[in-house]
């Protein structure tokens, strides 16, 4: 595949999630009670949007925001437009509902194929609701693209058609280079997402900025989407038990408290002379 440098096309996958601290499990129905929870753009995805916008600032090109979810996602996604993105594609259909990683990555990949030529696909490291980080490699596999995950810094060489990313790993890092097109998962917290520009707001909220695709608009196999395309099943759901802790409060001056703590530490840690 030869990619010409005339216009970079960057796609950012964005999800809207309920604020984690406001989600509860209904003890009777054992279902997630999201009704009381406000929504937000998945915070790691904002790092991905910022990453793409920085590349657009440097090299030009266009940034497409891609999301799969119900119509209420729309106003949240428009915030990305007011940050500097060019267009939003929202995959919205009841048939997409209940998708696990396999069905989600399949559906997103189908949309990305439709958006080609695409040079780079950015994803947040993980979502705050599922937090599995499995979408980026799954997406790359369906697309047949290269991938670099957990990237904190990136360099695009358009003349050679390669991307070089610094990948953060436990206890170190590595610098990997892959040919375009590639899926990049962006290390959470590696940049400071810009605020949206209020001057762009009227433009961002114009109807034509958002394209909604349903299953029939896309070349998808019904066996691979939504619940039908999801091999995993959630068989139980509960509020996480908080582990029983002693919850003993110590009081006194800093010195007194320190003595008490030192005594507790000596009880539980091995001593050596």
């Amino acid at each position: 595949m030869a990619y010409v440098a005339n216009e970079l096309h960057l796609v950012v996958c964005v999800k809207v999630v309920p604020k984690p601290e406001e989600v509860r499990v209904d003890p009777q129905s054992r279902r997630l009670d999201r009704a009381g929870a406000r929504s937000e753009i998945n915070p790691p995805d904002l790092n991905a949007v910022e990453f793409a916008l920085q590349i657009k600032d440097r090299f030009g090109g266009k940034v497409s925001i891609l999301s799969m979810g119900p119509p209420f996602f729309e106003p949240y996604l428009r915030i990305c437009l007011a940050m500097g993105a060019d267009h939003v594609y929202l995959l919205s259909d009841r048939l997409f509902g209940g998708a696990d990683t396999l069905a989600t990555t399949y559906t997103l990949a189908k949309a990305i194929h439709r958006l080609e030529p695409v040079h780079l696909v950015f994803c947040g490291e993980e979502s705050s609701d599922g937090a599995t980080g499995q979408v980026p490699p799954g997406l790359a596999e369906w697309l047949g693209y290269q991938q670099i995950t957990l990237v904190s810094d990136i360099e695009v060489n358009m003349s050679q058609g390669v991307v070089r990313g610094r990948r953060e790993r436990q206890g170190g890092y590595e610098i990997l280079e892959v040919p375009l097109p590639a899926v990049i998962s962006v290390k959470t917290g590696c940049n400071e997402p810009r605020f949206w520009d209020y001057r762009l707001k009227p433009w961002a909220f114009a109807p034509e900025r958002v394209t909604v695709w349903s299953a029939s608009d896309m070349d998808v196999d019904p066996e691979f989407i939504g619940l039908a395309g999801s091999p995993t099943q959630v068989v139980g759901l509960e509020q996480a038990p908080s582990r029983e802790r002693k919850r003993i409060m110590l009081s006194g001056s800093p010195e007194e408290v320190a003595q008490q703590l030192a005594a507790r530490l000596r009880e539980v840690l091995p001593l050596s002379g």
């Binding site: 601290e21 599922g130 599995t132 066996e223 509020q239 000596r266």
Partner: protein
């Protein structure tokens, strides 16, 4: 419904664990998974297999996999498997799995493990339960994975009833490591040849600096600093050294560049299982406390008496960590019985 490349009836009664390797060393998470895999396999009377990919000097690693609990070790050797690239490893693991058809495939939720598992699951058209906090087998050879969502506030049980292999990833430190076995019922090594093409591998490793940083998942004591310590990690380091431990952090100081990211504890960091976690100046958000839930004892110091961290602590102190920590260092230094690393 779309089916996986092989069905439950074609699958063999084997749990396979991917052995992650850094140079000549097996990663601890893979051994932890063999420990857990052994337990699961014994429950259902299955075999436990270790999948080892690499090139040369594989024999010592094979022995290590056996003593960590494996009944079978599946070895695929190829020059392109010497170091990890997602293309070569996915292709090799795929070829071995299609030949051996295990019912369950487990992998560490490390950066490379996640890359591999994410690609493999799509290639095999099967289900992947990522970042499990517990695993068990239920009747019919179905693996049940427990995962936390929404920052640890919600627990979900997830199964892949029909597709095979049933894939799951688990973070380092979630399962304890069992002592090595000296005797075993069977020990089969299978050498499996894989076909890899250099042209497939398009990732170029330009530079690598791994394995030099801290690994706080293995430390018996972790002293964690949050926003409230105002970057005074030097103080926490003194305390940690005195106790033979390591310094950890919640996310804000890491994002603020006050400390290395590999020391971040919690949902987007690491899960540690120390004897003692001392949490200083952290409010105790779900996203963080999930990382210390396995600690035997939790001590919390926070200036705000209402901070949720006190709900998840064994001993709580309301006060300024910047005053309490120096006093504690002093108290430990002056104690008749010195406390040191064990």
């Amino acid at each position: 419904m779309a089916t996986s490349l092989y069905s439950a009836s074609e699958a063999r009664d084997v749990i396979c664990v991917f052995m992650e390797r850094e140079g000549d060393t097996l990663q601890r998470v893979s051994l932890e998974l063999l420990s857990k895999g052994r337990e699961l396999a014994d429950e259902v009377g299955w075999n436990l297999a270790a999948l080892l990919l690499g090139y040369e000097r594989m024999f010592p690693l094979t022995l290590e996999a056996f003593s960590a609990g494996a009944d079978e070790v599946w070895v695929a050797e190829h020059p392109l498997l010497q170091t990890f690239t997602v293309e070569a490893y996915t292709s090799a693991a795929f070829q071995v799995i299609m030949r051996q058809k295990p019912s369950v495939f487990l992998c560490g939720a490390t950066p490379n493990g996640r890359d591999l598992a994410g690609r493999l699951a799509v290639k095999l058209r099967t289900g992947l339960t990522a970042d499990c906090t517990d695993l068990r087998m239920r009747e019919g050879g179905v693996l049940v994975g427990e995962v936390t969502g929404f920052g640890g506030g919600v627990l979900a049980l997830i199964e892949t009833p029909q597709h095979r292999p049933q894939m799951a990833t688990v973070r380092p430190g979630v399962f304890p490591l069992k002592p090595p076995r000296t005797e075993r019922a069977s020990s089969t090594v299978e050498i499996i040849s894989v076909i890899l093409d250099e042209a497939q591998v398009r990732t170029r490793v330009v530079e690598q600096a791994v394995g030099r940083g801290a690994d706080i998942t293995q430390s018996p004591v972790v002293v964690v600093g949050g926003r409230g310590i105002q970057g005074r990690f030097d103080l926490l380091r003194q305390l940690a050294e005195l106790l033979g431990g390591e310094v950890g952090a919640t996310r804000p100081p890491v994002d603020g560049g006050q400390i290395e990211r590999e020391r971040q504890v919690g949902q987007t960091g690491v899960v540690c299982r120390p004897k003692v976690a001392i949490v200083c100046g952290a409010s105790g958000a779900f996203q963080f406390t999930v990382g210390i839930q396995h600690a035997d004892t939790v001590i919390a110091i926070n200036i705000d008496p209402e901070a949720p961290i006190f709900e998840t602590a064994d001993y709580g102190v309301v006060g300024d960590a910047l005053q309490i920590v120096p006093a504690l260092i002093e108290a430990l230094r002056n104690s008749r019985e010195p406390v040191a690393s064990g």
